[in-house]
Structure formats: C-alpha cells, structure tokens
C-alpha cells in the first residue's frame, strides 16, 4: 500500500521519470534494476492482454507487462526503441513497458503532495502522490502496490489456482 508517511519523512529521493500517454510518471530509483529494450518475449496464452509474456533475464524467467495496454493508452507498438523498465518488487522481478524514459531526478519531501482521487490513468491506490517540478507534474507510482495487485494478475492468488 501507499506509504505517504515514509514518502514525506525522507528528505530527498531519487526517482526515474517515464512517460505514459502524455503523462509523466516517476518510480523510486531504488526499485529499478535496469532498463532494457523489448525483445525475445515468449507469449503466454490465456492471460490478460497487458501481460506480454515472459523473457529471459540472465537466467531468470521474468514477466513483462505493458502499462500502455493496461491503462488503455495510445496504440502500443513494439519497435527497437520500446523501453522496458525492470523493477525489483520484493523478491520478484518484473519488467514494465512504457512509452519512454526521460530522466532521473531528485524530489524533496515538500515537493510531494497527496494524490487526488482522480486525475491519472492509474488507480490512486497505486500512487504515492504527485510531485511538482518547476512546471512539470510527476505522478509517483507505488511499484510494489501496483505490481502485486490482483488486477495485475502477476502473482498467484487463491482464486486463480488452476485445477
């Protein structure tokens, strides 16, 4: 879940900024393992369309989700420039496809405001807040909460256990 207290207590934090459908999002840099291209994905049948499949990340079989598909943004095409942000979620690794990665920046706690109930493509339950950076607005994503949520279907839940 979102942890606004921890977010405000930390003086400054580094975030990776990426874009999705014209909005700028940010994720804690400590969650990011690496950024890589989109290639060699093995499709998995009978899963939601935003789960593109799995790939081999140095011997680990890692799922790739396309946030563009998940949040029904502009047509998702896959080119040599398609970017995958590889995240560490607890013990797990997951890759997410985004439109582009822009930069790494520092945010101080007074730049971060609580997220309103609406406004972003992403459910507010997965947001840690909004940050203003000069004339930009960054939407801070709680990667853990989002990737382990049931709607992401990345983690086994009791209901989804197969016979």
């Amino acid at each position: 879940m979102t942890d606004p207290i921890a977010a405000t207590e930390a003086d400054t934090r580094e975030v990776l900024v990426f874009t999705l459908g014209g909005e700028e999002y940010a994720v804690d840099i400590l969650k990011v393992q690496e950024i890589r291209g989109y290639s060699n994905i093995t499709r998995i049948a009978n899963v939601p369309a935003f789960i593109k499949g799995v790939t081999n990340l140095r011997g680990a079989i890692v799922p790739i989700v396309d946030l563009r598909v998940k949040f029904a943004l502009a047509e998702a095409d896959y080119t040599a420039h398609t970017v995958v942000i590889v995240l560490n979620i607890g013990e797990r690794i997951v890759g997410m496809v985004v439109d582009s990665v822009s930069d790494v920046t520092s945010l101080s706690s007074d730049q971060i405001r609580p997220a309103p109930e609406f406004g972003a493509q992403v459910d507010t339950a997965y947001l840690q807040g909004l940050a203003s950076l000069e004339d930009r607005m960054l939407i801070l994503i709680d990667a853990d909460a989002m990737m382990t949520s049931r709607e992401m279907a990345l983690v086994d839940s009791i209901e989804s256990e197969t016979a």
Binding site: N40, T42, R43, I44, A45, N46, V47, P48, A49, G53, V54, T55, N56, R58, G59, A60, I61, V62, P63, R92, I93, V94, A153, L154, V155, D156, S160, E161, T162, A163
Partner: protein, 761 residues
C-alpha cells in the same frame, strides 16, 4: 567458518544421529538384541552428548547422558531392554529432538519434559539392573534414583581406586549422604565407580571420603565422560614396526598405554581410556587400515573369572543374548567378532570421506552449470553458420565443450541425489507407533532403498508418503480378527518400494488390506454430485478418491476406503511433476504408485513447434509420434474428437487451440501427432512439427510470475529465449472438460474451442 556454522553442523549431525538412533531402536529385536546395534545406538547418544557439551547445551547434554548411561548398561548386558524400555528410549529421542530444535531456534528446551524423561531413563537403568550377578548395585534404591534432577544439581562421576574389602559399601553410604548415588559399578575388585547427583562441592566430598581413603585415591569428574577408565584391548593385524610405533604414539594421546605384545601377525596393546571404542578406532584409522583393527573392552586379568561368572549368571536368568555376545568379546582378541570393527569403521570412515555442504551452495552451482549449458548451446548455434573448413578447430572445441558441460551437469546433479532409505527410514517408527495405537500388527518391508532421488524431492515426498502409509494402516489393513476370519495372516504386510523406471522414480506403497470398495466410492461420488457412469473402469473409479472434498467422507473409510486428504496428496505430487495411480482389489489389498521425475532441476524434453511458438514436451510423456490423415479422425459427441491409434481411440488435442496460437498449422495431415501419456491416460497432441530432443534446465515460472494453466515450468532455449514446458497431466485434464481457466474475461468465449471440429469439410 564462524561459530554459527559450527552450531548448524552440530544441529544437522545431531538430527541425523537421532534419526539413526530411532531407526536402530525400532529395528532392535528385544528378544535378542544385536550388540552391534546397541553399540551404534550408544555411539549416537555419546556423540550428541559430546557435541552438546562442547557448545554448552546443558539440557541436551544431561538428557543424552542419562540415555547414554542406560544404553551403556544395555550394551554391557547389565540391563535388558524390553519393548517398553525401547518405547521409553524412543520417547527420550523425541524429547532430544525437541531440545535440538529448541536450541536451533535459540530457545530454551522444555525443562519439564527433560526432567520427566531423565527420571524414566534412570528408573529403567536401576529397575532392570537387579540380577543377582550385579550384587553390589542391589543396594541402590530405584526410588532414590528416580528423584534425580537433571538440571539443578551437578552430576559427578566418582572413581575411587585401591580400596580394601568392605570399604566399597561404606564409601557408597557416605556418598549417598551428599545426594543421589546411581550407576554404581566395580570396574575392578579394588575400585568403586559411581555417579553422584549432588549440590555439594568436590572438596567437601573429598573431605568426607578421606575418613576412609586417601585423597589421591579419589577421582571426581563433572558428568560427561563415564567415570571408570575402562581398559581397551587394541589388536592390529598385519602391521609393520614403523606403524606399530606411530600407533603407540597415537594411543598414548588417548590414555595410558600398556606394553605392546606381538603374537604371530597380531600386535596387541592395552589402553586405559575413557574414550568410546568407536572413537579409538577412528583415531587409529589415521595410521592403519581399520578393517585390521579390533578394539574391545576387557576386564583386567584378575577379574576375568568374575566376568565369566557373570555371563553364566545372565544366561541362566534368561537375560538377553547381548549379555553373552558381550561376554564373548572378552575372550581372546583374535576371535573377536569383525562386526564390531566394521560398525566402528562406518562412523569413523564416513567422516573422512564426506564433506557437509549446504544445499543452497549446491543449488547455486546447479544454476551456474545450467547457465553454462545454455551458453554452450548458444555458441553451438552461432557456430552453425561457420564454414566447415574455416571453423574446424572451433567446432571441435565446441563439441568438446558440449561434452564437458554435459558431464559437469551430470556430476553436479548427482550431488543432490540421496538414497530413498532417507525416506524409508522414518517409517518403521511411524508404523510401530500407529500400529500400537490401532492395535494392528504390521510388518514393514522396504525394497529398493538404495534408489537415488533428488534430496529436495525426498523432502517433499515425505508428507504425501506419510499420509499414504497412515491411510494404509488406518483404513487398508484390517484388525487381526478380521484378517484371521478372511484367512489372512494376523499381521498385515506393508511394502514400500522404490525403483527407477526411465527418467522417473516409481515409489509404491502396497498393503494387503481389504482394498477399496467400488460401490461405496461410486455412491459417494453420486451423492457429491459428480457425474459418473456405472460402467466406469476401476482405474477411473479409484481416481475419484483423489477428488477435492471427496476424500473426507467417512462413508468410505468405515468400510475399506481411504481417509482424509487424498486430494492434498495428489496435489503435492502433481506439483512435483509426478502423478499417482492406484490399484486395488477387494480383500487382497491396495497399491498406491507414485511416479516422480528423478530431479526437479533438469528434464529431457522434446521441443515442439506450433505457429511461431516453441514448447517443450517432457520426453517421458511421449509414447510415439505419427502423421495422420484427416480421415483418421472420428467425432465423438460427448468427448470431442478422437483418432484411432493401433485399435485404441485417443482424444485429439490441438496445441494451437489450447494456447490460442495464431498462424499455426490446422491441416491435420500437414502437422504431426504426438501420443502423450499422463496418469495412465493417453491423448494425441497435434503440433506443427517436432524440433528435436534436448535436455532442458527447468526454471520455475512462479519465482517471478505465477502458475500458467497447462504449463509446468519454463526453460531457456539455445537462442536465449524462453520456452514453456507443457504439463501433460494438466493438458489431458483441462481439455477434457474445459479450457484452462482464462484470466481475462475477454477470452472466456473460447472456453469450448477445443471441442469444436478441428477439421472442416
């Protein structure tokens, strides 16, 4: 290595020793105990005690000490272990396990349990020690001994030598004033040894004893080693002079060494030492071949006659064979039974030839080797484009690399393999206890205990196996009266067996009980709302008891069926990549067969292609492959499509439909059909083509993702891409009724696609 590593090693060793002890105790024939077994049990207790002392685990040390005392008396034939005594020892073993567990978790062991078990052991030691030949110990009151506390007061071993006639009893009486005297022995006619549990200081005790003897005649030791230093006779055959000298030097570090004697090829020396025989043998093993070494405890010359008298006494009073066995080892060393040294060799020898490695280190190596194999096959693939002449040296090197990588992989995998005995050895105790509880006599037979299986699998197969064994005892094997009435032997027979079959291990749990009741199961299935036909073959009827929720029915168990949790058993086994089947005939018995892959980490597979996607089909599941014509396909109203293969109709499953693969071959005669077997069901799997056989490293999909229907795991192909490993069992089942449960509602419409006609027109 820091201290905690030593702790871990101790805990692991202690656990193993306790298991070994338990196994030996259960196997012990109480009417004629095997001296070798008694020695081994004693050694186990002794080793644990030693380790516990080193690490300061006092409760563990105290309890094992009591156990050791009793076992020592037993192996010397002074105490006869009857069935109830063995039961108490087994309980003591359980308490010890609890203590080890408590220490392992950094807690404090249950003092009450320890005290209880110490009292019990003490009581047995004293109660059973009442034969006339043991004269001097008669005056030790069992009641007094029972009051002994393990934890508060100190336990001392006191040895007094050079005493005169009549002084022994006097000394014992004096000592009894300080606390509780137990374990009184006279190792020599002029010596008294006993253990004293007291709160008094050593000086106070010596001060009192000095009224009778001199201070230098008294040796007081805190509990630990056994009080009297027994004399051991070491005999080594075929040994040269240089080795004799080094043996002498080694022995001198262990205790007082007498003058060596040479008699023919045997070299004999007496050693006065507290050490256990096994320890002495282990030390000698550094210098000489242990098979040539005989070590035995001997009575000093002037008391040999007494020992012989005692032997006669024991036999006369109908005591155990152990007594006579024991006494016979007191006769000349040349005729000493070789069994004793061979047993000692086991404990001494294994230490020097094995090394304890944490399994996660091995797993790490296995992962690395897996990566190496993948890299090697990527290189292979890249080199495939090379021109033959130019790349000859490189290709030769690559082929060598492939060979080496495969050998390395096999060698590493074998490190994880352990014999099935690891699993089987836990059952004698279970059967003993459960049999006693249920009032049934059951003989256990194990076959193929040397069959090797991945350690991880063995650990995970224990629970399902335990469950199946319990079920056999509880519901399968009838009580004695019913058995006799049915013309069967009174004692039930339970057979556990293991064998390799192809790339699998087959474990069978067979009983000669009442068997399953077909009618009962069918009736129960109907009342649970399962759709079933009366003419269902037996094999399918038996599968019903594995259905979730079905098995808890008492309706089954009150006649002959199985109890709870068969669905859990099946699920656990399926999760390991194995399957269960069951054969049963009324009145004759039931056999449950568990078939498991040898290892979880590596699998022989067949790469198959459908459209642009590659899957791995476990090789063990493939029976044959063939091309079929569309005309070979028959439509069966209830069950979709079947093809006839050698007179048998097999359900046709098209891979591209199950996994919704675009651009796959749909014309039956352009692709290929693979006959797949799973859980004794067969089906025909239609794919575009077979790409070839290869060994794959199994990667868990759930590590970073989740379970995928129809897929057991994933692997990495030579080009670095991921391929899914098909789960034949799940394929057979899911397509029989519905498609794999879709995660996305948008795909739910495809649910019955597999049942549609694969061939149009």
């Amino acid at each position: 290595m820091d201290g905690s590593d030593f702790y871990d090693t101790f805990f692991e060793e202690a656990t193993e020793l306790l298991e070994e002890m338990e196994r030996l105790l259960v196997e012990l024939d109480t009417s004629a105990p095997d001296l070798e077994a008694l020695n081994a049990i004693f050694r186990a207790a002794h080793s644990i005690k030693g380790g516990a002392g080193t690490f300061g685990f006092d409760a563990l040390q105290n309890t094992t000490h009591r156990m050791e005392n009793l076992l020592d008396l037993a192996r010397r034939g002074e105490v006869w272990l009857d069935r109830s005594a063995v039961d108490r020892l087994l309980e003591a073993g359980d308490v010890l396990k609890g203590q080890v567990e408590a220490y392992r978790e950094g807690g404090v062991p249950d003092a009450e349990a320890a005290r209880r078990v110490c009292d019990v052991l003490e009581r047995i030691a004293n109660d059973k020690q009442g034969t006339p030949a043991d004269g001097p110990s008669d005056d030790v009151s069992p009641d007094a001994a029972a009051e002994v506390r393990c934890d508060d007061s100190r336990r001392l071993s006191i040895t007094i030598t050079g005493i005169k006639d009549g002084e022994a009893d006097l000394l014992a009486e004096e000592l009894a004033l300080f606390g509780t005297v137990a374990d009184r022995r006279s190792p020599r006619t002029d010596a008294l040894a006993l253990s004293l549990t007291t709160t008094a200081a050593d000086d106070d005790i010596i001060a009192v004893l000095c009224f009778i003897v001199d201070a230098d005649q008294i040796v007081i030791e805190t509990a630990g080693e056994r009080p009297p230093a027994p004399m051991l006779r070491v005999t080594v055959r075929d040994v040269d002079v240089a080795t004799q000298n080094s043996l002498c030097a080694e022995l001198a570090t262990l205790g007082d060494v007498g003058a060596p004697r040479v008699d023919g090829e045997a070299w004999t020396v007496d050693l006065t030492s507290d050490l256990a025989i096994a320890d002495v043998v282990a030390v000698l093993g550094f210098e000489a071949d242990v098979t040539r070494v005989t070590v035995e405890s001997v009575a000093p010359a002037d008391s040999v006659d007494r020992a012989n008298d005692k032997q006669a006494g024991d036999v006369a009073t109908g005591s155990s064979d152990a007594a006579s066995d024991e006494a016979s080892t007191g006769t000349p060393p040349a005729t000493a039974p070789p069994a004793r040294t061979s047993g000692a060799k086991d404990s001494g020898g294994s230490d020097s030839t094995s090394i304890r490695v944490p399994t996660d280190k091995i797993d790490h190596i296995i992962n690395l080797v897996g990566e190496l194999v993948i890299t090697q096959s990527m290189l292979d693939r890249a080199a495939g484009d090379l021109e033959r002449e130019r790349g000859e040296a490189l290709l030769a090197g690559l082929s060598q690399l492939a060979h080496n990588a495969r050998d390395l992989q096999e060698a590493v995998m074998s490190m994880r393999m352990v014999p099935m005995d690891f699993a089987f050895n836990r059952f004698p105790r279970l059967i003993r206890d459960l049999g006693a509880k249920l009032g049934k006599r059951v003989n256990l037979q194990t076959l193929g205990g040397a069959t090797e299986l991945d350690k991880g699998l063995i650990e995970r197969i224990m629970d399902p196996m335990t469950h199946l064994v319990r079920n056999s005892l509880d519901h399968g094997i009838e009580d004695a009266a019913t058995r006799l009435a049915a013309g069967k032997p009174e004692a039930g027979q339970l057979t556990l067996s293991a064998r390799h079959e192809g790339g699998n291990i087959v474990i069978e749990i067979a009983d000669d009980g009442a068997g399953l009741s077909r009618e009962r199961i069918l009736a129960k299935a109907r009342s649970s709302g399962l759709s079933i036909a009366d003419d269902m073959p037996d094999s399918e009827v038996w599968q019903l008891i594995f259905a979730p929720g079905f098995s808890t029915a008492d309706a089954v168990s009150d006649v002959s069926g199985r109890g709870v949790g068969m669905d859990v058993v099946k699920r656990n086994i399926t999760r390991l990549g194995g399957h269960v089947d069951l054969r049963s005939s009324p009145g004759v018995g039931t056999t449950v067969r568990v078939i498991l892959p040898l290892t979880l980490a590596i699998m022989d597979g067949m790469a198959v292609r459908a459209g642009g996607e590659v899957f791995i089909l476990p090789l063990g599941a493939i029976l044959e492959s063939m091309r079929v014509a569309p005309s070979d396909v028959r439509t069966v109203a209830a069950d979709g499509h079947v093809i006839e293969v050698r007179g048998e109709y097999l359900r046709l499953i098209e891979l591209h439909r199950v996994f919704d693969i675009p651009d796959a071959q749909t014309e039956l005669d352009r692709g290929i059909v693979v006959v797949v077997t799973s859980e004794s069901r067969r089906f025909a799997l239609f794919v575009d083509e077979l790409l070839g056989q290869q060994q794959v490293v199994v990667k868990n999909l759930e590590t970073h993702f989740r379970k995928v229907a129809g897929v057991s795991a994933a692997t990495i192909l030579g080009d670095g891409s991921v391929a899914l490993i098909l789960d034949a069992t799940a394929l057979a089942r899911t397509t029989a009724m519905t498609r794999p449960a879709p995660l996305s509602p948008s795909r739910a419409t495809t649910t019955h696609e597999t049942l549609e006609s694969p061939v149009h027109d």
